[in-house]
C-alpha cells in the first residue's frame, strides 16, 4: 500500500496539468499584451519627441531669421494662409555686390524649406513629421514697426501614432529697430 501510494504521488494529475496550462496561457497573454503596450508607448513617445524637436527648431530658426531681417518682402510672401510663404530682406548675409540678401521660407508637401539667395533649398523639417500649417501674419502697429506672427503646426508623419504641436509666436523685425 505504501508502495502504491508513493507511486500515486509521482507525476502530474490531470487537474494539475489543466491548472498549469491555464496559468501559462494567462501569463503568455499578459506578457504579450504588455510587450505590445510597451512597443506602442515607445513609438508614441518617439512621435511626440520628433514633433516637439522639429517644432522647436523650426520656430527658433524662423524667429532668429525674422528678428535679424529689415523687412518682409511683400511680393514674394504669402500671408494669412495655412500654406504660407515668407520672404525676408536682411543685411546680415548680403550677396556679393549688394547690401542686403533675401531668404525665403515655404512649405511643400508637408516639408518646410528655406532658401537663402544664391543657395539651394534646404529642408527645415525631418521626414518623420509633416508640417500642416505654415502661416504668417504681418503686423504693422505703427510706422516703421513691423513684426511677423507665425503659426506652425507639426504632425507626426505616421497616422498610426498621432502627435501634434501648434506653436504660435510673434517676432519683431529688429533689423529696422
Amino acid at each position: 500500500m505504501i508502495c502504491n501510494s508513493k507511486k500515486l504521488r509521482t507525476g502530474f494529475s490531470l487537474i494539475e496539468a489543466v491548472v498549469y496550462v491555464a496559468l501559462l496561457g494567462v501569463i503568455s497573454i499578459f506578457i504579450a499584451n504588455s510587450v505590445i503596450f510597451l512597443v506602442q508607448a515607445y513609438a508614441r513617445a518617439r512621435a511626440e519627441r520628433e514633433v516637439l524637436a522639429n517644432a522647436r527648431s523650426l520656430t527658433d530658426h524662423l524667429a532668429t531669421k525674422i528678428a535679424s531681417s529689415q523687412e518682409t518682402y511683400g511680393f514674394a510672401s504669402q500671408f494669412d494662409m495655412d500654406a504660407g510663404q515668407l520672404s525676408l530682406v536682411s543685411a546680415v548675409a548680403p550677396t556679393a555686390g549688394h547690401t542686403t540678401g533675401y531668404a525665403d521660407f515655404w512649405m511643400d508637401n508637408g516639408v518646410a524649406y528655406m532658401r537663402e539667395e544664391g543657395d539651394a533649398a534646404t529642408p527645415l523639417s525631418a521626414a518623420t513629421v509633416r508640417v500642416t500649417a505654415f502661416r504668417f501674419e504681418r503686423i504693422i502697429q505703427t510706422v516703421g514697426r513691423e513684426a511677423v506672427r507665425m503659426t506652425i503646426r507639426i504632425d507626426a508623419a505616421s497616422p498610426k501614432f498621432p502627435a501634434s504641436a501648434t506653436l504660435i509666436t510673434t517676432t519683431a523685425l529688429r533689423g529696422n529697430y
Binding site: 506578457i31 504588455s34 510597451l38 494669412d80 509666436t169 510673434t170
Partner: protein, 331 residues
Amino acid sequence: MKHGFGLIEIIIVTAIVSGALFMFSQVGAFALKVLRHEKENLEMSLLAEDGIEAMRALRDESWANNIDAHDEGTDHYISLESGKWKIGDTAVPPVGQYSRFVVIEPVLRNAQDKISASGTADPGTRKVAVRVTKDTRTVSLVSYLTDFQQYVPRPADAISVSYEGAATDANLASFPSNNAGDGDPAQSFTTPASSIQVTRVSLLLRRATAAPSHVFAEIRSTPVSMALGTSTTVASVSIPQSASGWVDFYFPQPVTLAAVTSYYIRLRSMPASTDVSSGSAGTLHWLYRQTASSQYAGGVARRYIGRLSNSADQGQLLDQYDFGFRVYDLQ
C-alpha cells in the same frame, strides 16, 4: 517529489514578471506624459512671448493710449485684428486651448532710482505680466516696459492726397465677387508737386454682408502694371458694418511715388476676386460719388479689373465716379 516547480513557485515568478512589466509600462506612460507636458509648456511659453511682443508693439504705438490708459492690477486681454494688436478689458476667445491675460502694474523707485517694493511711482515704467493658462496650469512671463519712445524722434504720416466727398453707399463694383471672377475696383490719384512716401492708404468702406473675403490694397502705375507696394491684409470683420468708415491699409515699407504722376489704388481680396470659383465672397461697398464731370480732378474710378483671370484686363472706366480715399505721406 521535491523536484520540479510547484504552483507557489509559478505564482511567485508570475508576480515578479508581472511587476516588472507593469513597472516598464508605467515608465513608458510616464515618459509620454512628460513629453506632452513639455509640449504644452512650449506652446504656452511661446504664446506668453507673443503677448510680451504684443505689449512692446502697443507701447511703440502709443504709451498714453495703450499702456497708461489701462487700469493697473486687473486682467486685460490682447487680440490681433487686421495686422494690429488691440488691448482691452473684454475677454477674447482663447487661442486654441489656452487663455491669455495681461496685467499692468505700477513700478516704484527708491531714493537711488532703483526699482523697489516701496517708493515713488515711475510714470514712465510699467511692469507687465502675461499669463497663459490651461485648466490648472499657468505659464507667466514678466517684463518691464519703459516709455523710451518719447525721447526718440518718431516717424509720423499725414494725408497727402485724398477725396473726401464720397457719400453713395451702394454695390458699384461687385467686390469681392461671389466666386464670379468679377475683378477688382481701383481709384487713380495724382501725386502733389513733390514726391511722396506712402505709409498707408485709407479707404471709405462698409461691409454689406456678414463675412466677405479679407482685403488688401496695392499701389500700381496702371490698373494692371506690377504692384509698387502691397499693404497688410485687413480682416473683413474689422470693416464697419452698420455705417461706413475709413479703413487703413498699411504698407510695411513706405512706397516712394514720383511727383505729379498718376497712380492707382487697387483694392484686392483674398481669395482673389478676379478668379472664378476662387472662394472669394462678397460684398464690400467702397463709397463713391457720381457727378457728370468727375468731382475729383486728379483721378477716376475703375471696376472689373483683371476679371475672369485675365491679368491684362484694365476693367471698366467709370469716368463720372470717384471712390473715397486718403493717401498718407511719411513726414
